[in-house]
């Protein structure tokens, strides 16, 4: 059985949350006896090794939102459906691959599926709409924060709601990441088959070797933050951690900030305000290898999750939980993991003062020692268990089996 996943980013080398989710779903489909093939329209920033054989770069096909930031995902769907070259690429792929189902990763590539169906290229191919979060409010918030006018941001959000409605209506099965998203999609499409496939994480590798990357910390406790260059990741850290400077630690390296967030955090007014003091305390790792990232995660005293807005559930939260370290998180960061609020080693904070107090508390505490029960609870956030215990695995198994049976009957 072959499934074609359509997305707005490649997943050959999963780094950010969306990529990791698709990667985990691919493993799930494999367990269920299906091969997942990914085809993406992506921005040109990805390296060669990030990109798969069916992926294409977003071209200039869509000028609809050319003057608006953060519109690559919507543009990708329009580009795939309306650019003659791009559409030919996907049409050819579908004719060659003959997928048994599409999985639409986030709603943005829906225009392509709609056209493929309308043109008879894939008229009867069932669609699994794999939501990563309820997109419209998040996009609206990001656009307004980026300086886009409210009417325009609202108009774009409305377009995304319409797109999601179309995608849900056209889908045979909807996967959501959380119970709260489940309620939203149920309201959109009463009676639709919907399952919750919570976000999860891979278990950390066992005892990664020591690396020179830890040298700045000289054996001291440090806190860890990783994130892509994505507005919620940057703004929350700037507001909740940087705003008053890092004076809550002595002027020694005591923070590891990793990933695409680094540049914009460093350049933020809040960080620059006390740049000399902050630089004594913060070590940025913008381009570290996965191996070194694992070393940092294994050695850190705690993980901070200063996320103030955004939809879906946060993969970084799952990673933080499974690391068995202290976790300092906002309630927003705990979305989808609400059961861990109040759990051992999880400190919840909402304001800059609360967040600083929680980081101080975490740093004052000895390394986290979890009970067997607490450790088991945290390890339940692996992808495999999340999909199984959330119910999505069984629903998918049944769904795919029915399609296989249907196809077999059709073949008779």
């Amino acid at each position: 059985m072959k499934i074609l996943a359509l997305s707005t980013y490649p997943v050959a080398r999963p780094r950010h949350g969306g990529q990791k989710r698709v990667h985990a779903l691919k493993a799930l489909y494999q367990r269920l006896g299906a091969d997942l093939h990914v085809a993406a329209v992506h921005d040109p920033s990805y390296a060669k090794e990030d990109v798969g054989p069916h992926d294409i770069v977003l071209g200039h096909g869509s000028a609809t939102w050319a003057d608006t930031p953060f519109m690559g995902d919507l543009q990708s769907g329009e580009f795939a459906a309306n650019s003659p070259a791009a559409y030919r690429h996907f049409e050819s792929l579908v004719r060659t691959l003959q997928p048994d189902a599409f999985t639409l990763e986030q709603p943005f590539m829906w225009p392509l599926i709609r056209r493929l169906k309308e043109n008879g290229v894939a008229a009867d191919v069932p669609v699994i709409y794999s939501s990563h979060n309820w997109e419209a409010p998040l996009k609206e918030a990001i656009l307004i924060r980026a300086g886009v006018s409210r009417p325009k941001a609202k108009a774009i959000a409305a377009a995304i709601v319409a797109l999601e409605q179309d995608a849900v209506d056209g889908a045979d099965l909807v996967l959501t990441v959380s119970d709260s998203d489940l309620a939203i999609y149920r309201a959109l499409a009463p009676g639709k088959l919907i399952a919750v496939a919570p976000n999860g994480v891979d278990l950390p590798s066992d005892a990664p070797g020591r690396s020179a990357i830890l040298d700045p910390y000289e054996g001291r406790k440090f806190l860890f933050y990783v994130g892509s260059s994505y507005p919620p990741n940057i703004e929350g850290f700037v507001k909740l951690v940087c705003e008053d400077g890092f004076f809550f630690t002595p002027p020694l390296k005591s923070f590891a900030v990793c990933g695409g967030v680094c540049d914009q955090i460093f350049q933020s007014d809040a960080y620059q305000r006390f740049v000399h003091a902050n630089s004594e305390r913060v070590q940025f790792f913008p381009n570290t290898t996965d191996e070194d990232l694992d070393v940092l995660k294994a050695a850190t005293h705690g993980v901070v999750l200063p996320i103030q807005f955004g939809g879906g559930s946060n993969l970084k939260t799952a990673e933080a939980l499974v690391s068995e370290k202290w976790v300092v998180a906002t309630p927003t960061a705990m979305r989808g993991f609400e059961r861990f609020i109040g759990a051992a080693g999880v400190l919840i904070a909402e304001t800059p003062d609360q967040f600083r107090a929680a980081m101080i508390q975490a740093l004052r505490n000895p390394p986290l020692q979890l009970s067997g029960q607490d450790r088991a609870a945290r390890r339940a956030v692996t992808w495999e268990r999340a999909f199984r215990e959330g119910g999505a695995e069984e629903v998918l198994r049944t769904f795919l089996a029915s399609r296989t049976a249907g196809a077999a009957i059709g073949a008779l």
Binding site: F247, P250, F274, A277, A357, L363
Partner: protein
């Protein structure tokens, strides 16, 4: 334990020793008398991030304002140092003797009243003016070529403008390497707790300083119990292990020699009854509340505009332009609120002595020197109860909420009307208020610091 008292601020200063420079010099001059062989002096040299040993003789010259140190090679001349021309110095000297100036001008065919001469002085006065004999300027390599021998038995004591002249993070690294101990005088934490009352350009500089100094310091000596409480609260809020701490009073010695005995009150105050408020005009000092209270008193006829005045003594500071424009334009206040600035110690003394009572409505203070000054002159004082202010005069001071102009109006009216009560208060102040001298303040400072070191001073 060898104690090195840092004179890095005084070594740069030209002009009269006021504020923090005064504290550094007053404590500094008593280091050797109090500590004997255990005492010494040092300077922080930014270019090498290190501490230089300052010989006692040079320290004495710095404290006396006779020596100024150039810390960097080359560069621009130190502002104000020895710059005044001979003609200017002679003119200033004559201006300090108004009747002599008046006589000289008469010889030139010109006529000036004493009030006009006072105005000329105010206009021409340069806050950074040098003493007639300017300080000698020498380089640090010339004066202090040797480094301070640092070790666990070394204590560096700093009472200066460390946010301007020190690399606190550099000192933290140096301390980690050499293991010396560090004591800092803490004046107030207003930039942290009330940043809206601090000149914006300074807020981040001072937040940066306070963000580091409590990680560096083993001991903190605050200038009031209030400031010490603020320090503890800050340390708790930022997770900093609080340094061992105590506090000490500032000295309140009144000037003993006055240059201008022959002066008189300015014309606007002659024959008037007046209340005095000595402070830079800036939002935190809360001149607005007094202005509103006074305006109300005049408009309601509760204070006589013919005989009563409100006197503001102090430089115009930041963010008070609207207030000053209002005071000048308001018919009720333009002639009844008198403002003066750039006055000598002698003039200030004369103004205090002529006042019926003093006012101090500040929103927050780390100490509150004008309250101590007013009490030292035996004047009844009506003060805000914010911050450290109640520590100075205790029950001898009348306290009013700084946010309540109506209460200030009532207090001002009562003070002008009830002469018997004000006389009783003045008598009580004269009988009971004992401003600590700088000798006593320094004794307390070094005794309490020594006690802290003895109690907590294990090698860091």
């Amino acid at each position: 334990m060898k104690v090195y008292f840092d004179l890095s601020t005084s070594a740069r200063w030209s002009g009269h020793a006021v504020g923090i420079v005064r504290v550094e010099r007053e404590l500094g001059r008593r280091v050797l008398p109090v500590l004997g062989d255990e005492g010494g002096y040092c300077l922080f040299l930014p270019r090498e991030g290190g501490l230089r040993l300052l010989p006692a003789e040079a320290a004495a010259q710095i404290i006396a304002g006779e020596l100024q140190i150039r810390f960097e090679d080359g560069g621009p001349a130190i502002p104000g140092a020895g710059q005044a021309s001979l003609r200017r110095r002679i003119r200033n000297a004559i201006l300090r003797r108004p009747k002599l100036y008046q006589a000289i001008q008469r010889l030139r065919g010109l006529s000036f009243s004493l009030e006009q001469i006072a105005e000329v002085r105010r206009i021409e006065a340069d806050p950074d003016a040098q003493p007639a004999k300017g300080p000698i300027i020498r380089t640090i390599d010339d004066v202090a070529p040797e480094r301070v021998p640092l070790g666990p038995d070394t204590l560096i004591v700093s009472a200066g403008l460390d946010w301007e002249y020190k690399d606190i993070r550099g000192l933290y690294r140096m301390k980690a390497k050499h293991g010396f101990q560090y004591a800092a005088v803490i004046y107030d934490l207003i930039p942290l707790i009330m940043p809206h009352y601090v000149v914006p350009a300074y807020v981040n500089l001072l937040r940066d300083y306070f963000g580091e100094v409590f990680w560096l310091a083993d001991y903190c000596m605050s200038i009031s119990a209030c400031t010490q409480r603020d320090m503890y609260a800050h340390c708790e809020r930022y997770g900093v292990p609080a340094p061992a701490a105590d506090y000490f009073p500032l000295g309140g010695d009144l000037p003993t020699t006055l240059e201008d005995e022959e002066g008189e009150l300015p014309h606007a105050l002659q024959g008037k009854r007046y209340a005095i408020f000595v402070s830079t005009i800036e939002p935190r000092k809360n001149h607005r509340t007094l202005y509103q209270a006074w305006d109300r008193c005049i408009r309601e006829g509760r204070v006589d505009p013919e005989t009563c005045r409100l006197l503001f003594v102090g430089m115009g500071g930041w963010n008070t332009g609207d207030l000053r424009a209002e005071m000048a334009a308001n018919p009720a206040t333009r002639d009844t609120i008198v403002t003066m600035s750039n006055i000598s110690d002698a003039d200030l003394r004369r103004l205090y002595e002529g006042a019926e009572f003093s006012l101090f409505p500040s929103f927050y203070e780390g100490y509150g020197l004008p309250v101590a000054e007013a009490l030292s002159y035996g004047k009844p004082c009506i003060s805000s109860d914010a911050g450290s202010l109640p520590e100075i005069g205790g029950d001898l001071v009348t306290y009013v909420d700084p946010h309540n102009p109506l209460a200030w109006a009532d207090a001002i009216v009562e003070a002008f009307d009830d002469r018997a009560e004000m006389a009783r208060r003045a008598n009580a102040i004269q009988a009971q208020f004992k401003a600590p001298t700088w000798d006593a303040a320094a004794d307390i400072f070094f005794a309490r610091l020594t006690a802290l070191v003895q109690k907590h001073g294990a090698a860091p």
